[in-house]
């Protein structure tokens, strides 16, 4: 799926699209009802692929999706922090999600193109947000909610659980990210 197709997909469900950027309210808190309410115990998620590994980001935490804007490097920062950029109506720290989750050791999958996109995510219980730079192409899917997840043993702390890939039973399970934990973890690392 291309970014334009993804944006069109998002546009079909939620508030508005403009200039190649989708936002669920220009960075405002709270997700639109279409994204926030899971259907049949399922949760709408943005599916991304990082070096062949599939991750899901609950869409209620996603504030905006766009092409990766120019990023300004920040001194004294870890390698996975690309820098800062203007997105979703403000300034966000841009995190290279593949490097952060240490999936970069694996090769890129065919569906991962050179075009990077930025997902701006926001924590539900804290005033934290970040831009996640991902190379894997994202698409919108319905996945099993919390009740239907397999516990994520041996995964990084930011993975809330595993769900079967709807594309096929023989495919590896998808790791669903807990955005709150992810952002708190990033903040902790940066504070350290």
């Amino acid at each position: 799926m291309t970014l334009d197709e993804l944006l069109a997909d998002l546009d079909g469900e939620v508030l508005r699209t403009w200039g190649g950027t989708w936002s669920n309210g220009n960075g405002a808190a709270g997700a639109p009802a279409a994204l926030a309410v899971p259907a049949n115990g399922h949760e709408r998620c943005l599916l991304i692929t990082l070096h062949g590994r599939r991750f899901a980001v609950p869409s209620h935490a996603v504030q905006a999706v766009s092409e990766l804007p120019p990023v300004s490097a920040v001194p004294f920062s870890p390698p996975w922090l690309r820098g800062v950029a203007r997105a979703a109506g403000g300034v966000v720290a841009v995190v290279d999600l593949a490097r952060l989750l240490a999936t970069e050791a694996a090769p890129l999958s065919p569906e991962e193109t050179a075009r990077e996109i930025l997902l701006v995510v926001k924590a539900s219980d804290a005033d934290l947000d970040a831009g996640l730079a991902v190379r894997g192409i994202a698409r919108l899917v319905s996945l099993a909610g919390a009740a239907g997840r397999i516990p994520a043993t041996g995964e990084v702390d930011a993975v809330a659980g595993l769900v079967p890939d709807p594309a096929g039973a023989d495919l590896p399970p998808i790791a669903v990210l807990d955005v709150d934990r992810l952002l708190r973890g990033i903040r902790k690392e940066l504070d350290a």
């Binding site: 120019p70 300004s72 490097a73 920040v74 001194p75 004294f76 920062s77 800062v84 950029a85 203007r86 403000g90 300034v91 966000v92 720290a93 005033d127 934290l128 947000d129 970040a130 952002l183 990033i186 903040r187 940066l190």
Partner: protein, 851 residues
């Protein structure tokens, strides 16, 4: 109070007095919450209880620390419960804890003031309005009393004071603040009596007026906690506090929300300016394209005329119809055409028609270009108006963020008076430039540093009256706080006419600590010349906190002092935290912004890799910005590079950059929620083309450079070797002081007593040190001779040499440079600069060739 016998009783007495001052305010805040249910009333009690907890912990009072900790938590729960049914229960719990806290400190919890009429001011909206109004009246009264204190022979401020008090009294009575109204009445009477008294006013009378004003302020602040106002009282800073929380008072939630909204609107107005700049660039592009279009149309018309002329010539020559046969004529016309002579009827060939069509199209295009030019002229006018409005909007938004320094006057005055009374000294505070405006966030941030400097001035600067008399000084000391604008910066001087800094004690303390003496030491953490800890100051805590806080606000602090003639501390701060004129620089392919106010000089580097640069008669080690910030190198450095000489107080930093890329007024925002603080960076700004630029913090960059640690070094692996230094000086004291300083900074140190000893030592070693620090004048072999010898010997030639000498003359410096010195520093020297210089020029220890 359960006292650890090891604790200093004087310190504990001071703390107890501090708590005694807090309890009435806490009590009044709780009473106000009880009546109005407004969480804002709890902001001040919460801050004070937190302060008590921090200081109690610092002093080693576990019981009090624990009770205050519980109290703080309960107050937070009470704030959250405001307006709910649970509030009453939590409030009762808070009262119990505060009573326990008072008992643990051996104090009685005062009853809430009766100034509040139980039936009055139960409307939060009225109360909010009155808060603001009361602050204005008190501020006006304070300003008038200051005028009176300055010119006791001129009683005109008293008349104005009476008018202010009369109005305030009426308002307070209407809103229901009876005690406040009574106090206004008393002060009004006092002012009236004073008017009938002797002129000039006796000091005692002025003191009495100030005492009443102080009571009024206490009452207003206690009853109407308005911590958003930077003039709200604050406790003395303690190390524990300064390490764990911002010195700025936390404003009430509603005010925080308002400020957040204001910042958001300001950010949007900044974006508007940025977008407008981008629009301007596009607009000018459009104008250029229009000019191109007009030129193209002119060319087209010219070609069209040429074709037309050529066609006519061909027609006359009878060639046109041959070259381009005419379209087939209509049947009715067939044969009749021959009846007309060419002068009687024009004939149109295909070429004629093409030529005419071309001419018509050229005319159409010309007309469109003219209309487009007209529209663009109109748009140009609109653009200019839009620019004016945008700038105006931004200016007004920025002004909303500003407040006059005079809002702190009452607190400054109160602090000086209270400290002087405690110390048995007589001090006048003179305020000048109160109208100078500063960002509210800066005002809130500098309140504590200013109060600390004032307490220091009274405690350590101003002498006791009999001492001053003996020295031929007036009995009353004088402290002047003077503010003035310096470009986009505000300079605030705190000058006293006291004893001045005790340089002998500073030198002795520096020697004891093994560091080089200098005024900068006063701002180092833990540095003190005082062995006895006083209640007010002398704890070795404070000036470092002052410096840290001022630098956090992108400012600097400097001190000047002459024995017996007092001391002057100068704070330099940006007027606004949100707006900064910045110079854009390029480094390693990145564009970064440097506040223009911090740039002393811009120089061109003679050599791209030069490690030392001369400016204003001094040599400075060059720090490479890209290296300092460990920016990944995406571009090769150009052959011609620039150096910005940056100032942070008295310190300087020569910063090498690849290029300069312009200057503009930036609206500075944060770096996002994940990055509240980044060393060396004070924020981000949006450039005219929409790019995000990091705005650098010169004071922090200087600290990074002085520490000798770049980000790259900070991430070096365990194999990183320690740097070593050879100190060559004939003075034992200098060798000891330098060795102490350098070892403390992590260097391995060798010493030599003169050039000969150094040379022999280097010839005997298998590994050269990273750098040598060399005096000029030494017995047996001086520094120049040593350097010349080193440069003659290939094995010793790589050793970098920095001169550290008392010889400041240009002739001496030039001689050193001509011999190949890598740096030239003059004693006495700023040790941060020395460390930075050595870190810059040092090279890793290397095995000597052939050794």
């Amino acid at each position: 109070m359960s006292v650890d016998r090891r604790l200093d009783p004087e310190l504990l007495a001071g703390f107890r007095q501090e708590v005694d001052g807090y309890l009435p305010v806490i009590s009044q805040g709780l009473a106000a919450f009880s009546r109005l249910g407004n969480a804002d009333s709890l902001v001040e009690p919460h801050r004070l209880v937190h302060s008590i907890k921090g200081t109690a912990s610092l002093l080693g009072l576990p019981e009090l620390t624990e009770i205050a900790g519980h109290g703080e938590e309960a107050l937070e729960r009470l704030m959250d419960a405001a307006g709910s049914a649970a509030a009453a229960g939590v409030l009762a719990e808070v009262w119990t804890l505060v009573e326990r806290l008072a008992a643990s400190a051996g104090l009685a919890l005062p009853r809430p003031s009766a100034a509040f009429d139980e039936t009055a001011a139960d409307n939060a909206e009225i109360l909010d309005g009155f808060r603001q109004e009361a602050g204005e009246y008190v501020g006006a009264a304070a300003r008038l009393l200051h005028e009176l204190a300055r010119e006791p022979g001129d009683l005109s401020p008293l008349n104005e004071l009476r008018r202010v008090l009369h109005t305030f009294k009426g308002v307070a009575a209407v809103v229901g603040f009876k005690r406040l109204a009574e106090l206004c009445h008393r002060l009004e009477d006092l002012a009236e009596a004073t008017l009938a008294g002797p002129v000039p006013l006796p000091q005692a009378q002025i003191d009495a007026l100030f005492a009443d004003l102080e009571e009024m302020e206490t009452l207003v602040l206690g009853e109407l906690p308005a911590a958003a106002d930077p003039s709200a009282p604050l406790p003395q800073p303690t190390r524990a506090q300064s390490e764990t929380e911002s010195a700025a008072p936390e404003p009430p939630r509603a005010v925080r929300d308002d400020r957040r909204r204001l910042r958001e609107v300001l950010r949007l107005s900044g974006d508007l300016v940025s977008n407008h700049t981008a629009f301007e660039a596009r607009f000018h592009g459009l104008k250029r394209q229009l000019q191109e279009l007009e030129l193209a149309v002119a060319r087209l018309r010219r070609v069209s005329r040429q074709i037309e002329g050529a066609t006519e010539s061909m027609a006359f020559a009878g060639l046109a119809s041959v070259a381009h046969p005419a379209p087939l004529p209509a049947a009715a016309w067939t044969g009749r055409e021959e009846a007309f002579d060419s002068l009687e009827l024009e004939r149109y060939s295909g070429l004629d028609l093409l030529s005419r069509s071309l001419a018509e199209n050229a005319a159409d295009l010309s007309s469109i270009a003219r209309e487009l030019a007209g529209d663009l002229d109109g748009a140009e006018s609109d653009r200019r108006e839009l620019k004016r409005l945008t700038r105006g909007l931004q200016d007004q938004m920025l002004r909303l963020q500003l407040a006059p320094l005079g809002t702190l006057s009452a607190r400054l005055d109160r602090t000086v008076r209270a400290t002087a009374a405690r110390e048995g000294k007589r001090v006048d505070l003179v305020l000048a430039g109160e109208e100078v405006e500063l960002d509210r966030a800066i005002l809130a941030g500098i309140a504590d540093p200013l109060l600390h400097l004032l307490r220091n001035a009274v405690s350590h600067g101003i002498e006791l009256p009999d001492v001053r008399r003996e020295q031929g000084k007036p009995e009353r000391g004088r402290i002047t706080v003077r503010a003035r604008m310096e470009g986009s910066q505000v300079a605030i001087e705190i000058a006293d006419d006291g004893a001045g800094l005790d340089w002998t004690a500073i030198h002795a303390a520096a020697a004891a600590a093994g560091v080089l003496p200098g005024a900068h030491l006063l701002f180092e953490p833990g540095f003190t010349t005082t062995t006895a800890v006083g209640e007010v100051s002398g704890r070795g805590v404070g000036l470092d906190v002052v410096k840290t806080e001022v630098e956090r606000l992108r400012g600097s602090v400097a001190v000047q002092s002459h024995a017996g003639a007092g001391a002057t501390f100068t704070l330099r701060l940006p007027q606004s935290l949100a707006l900064a004129r910045v110079v854009l620089v390029r480094a390693a392919g990145e564009t970064l912004a440097v506040p223009a106010a911090s740039i002393v000089q811009v120089l061109r580097l003679a050599e791209p890799d030069a490690r030392v640069v001369d400016a204003a008669g001094e040599s400075f080690p060059v720090s490479d910005l890209a290296e300092l910030l460990a920016l990944p190198s995406r571009e090769r450095s150009p052959a011609r590079r620039s150096v910005l000489l940056l100032a942070a107080g008295e310190r300087r930093l020569a910063l090498a950059v690849d290029d300069l890329a312009g200057i503009f007024d930036a609206v500075v925002a944060g770096l996002g929620t994940l990055l509240p603080r980044v060393r060396g960076v004070s924020g981000a700004a949006v450039a005219g083309d929409g790019r995000l630029l990091l705005v650098l913090n010169p004071a922090e960059l200087l600290a990074v450079a002085a520490s000798g640690e770049t980000a790259a070094q900070g991430t070096a692996g365990p194999g990183t070797e320690r740097l070593s230094v050879l100190v060559v000086d004939d003075s034992l004291s200098v060798r000891r002081v330098l060795a102490g300083l350098l070892r403390a900074a992590g260097w391995e140190v060798q010493v030599a007593r003169d050039g000969r000893e150094a040379l022999e030592s280097l010839q005997a070693t298998t590994r050269l040190p990273s750098v040598a620090v060399v005096d000029v004048e030494m017995p047996r072999m001086n520094g120049y001779e040593l350097l010349a010898s080193l440069r003659r010997e290939p094995a010793l030639r790589p050793l970098p040499v920095v001169f550290l000498t008392s010889r400041a003359g240009e002739k001496h410096r030039a001689n050193a440079v001509s011999l190949g010195a890598d740096g030239y520093l003059v004693k006495p020297y700023d040790d941060a600069n020395l460390l930075a210089t050595l870190a810059r020029v040092a090279r890793p220890e290397v095995a000597r060739a052939g050794a």
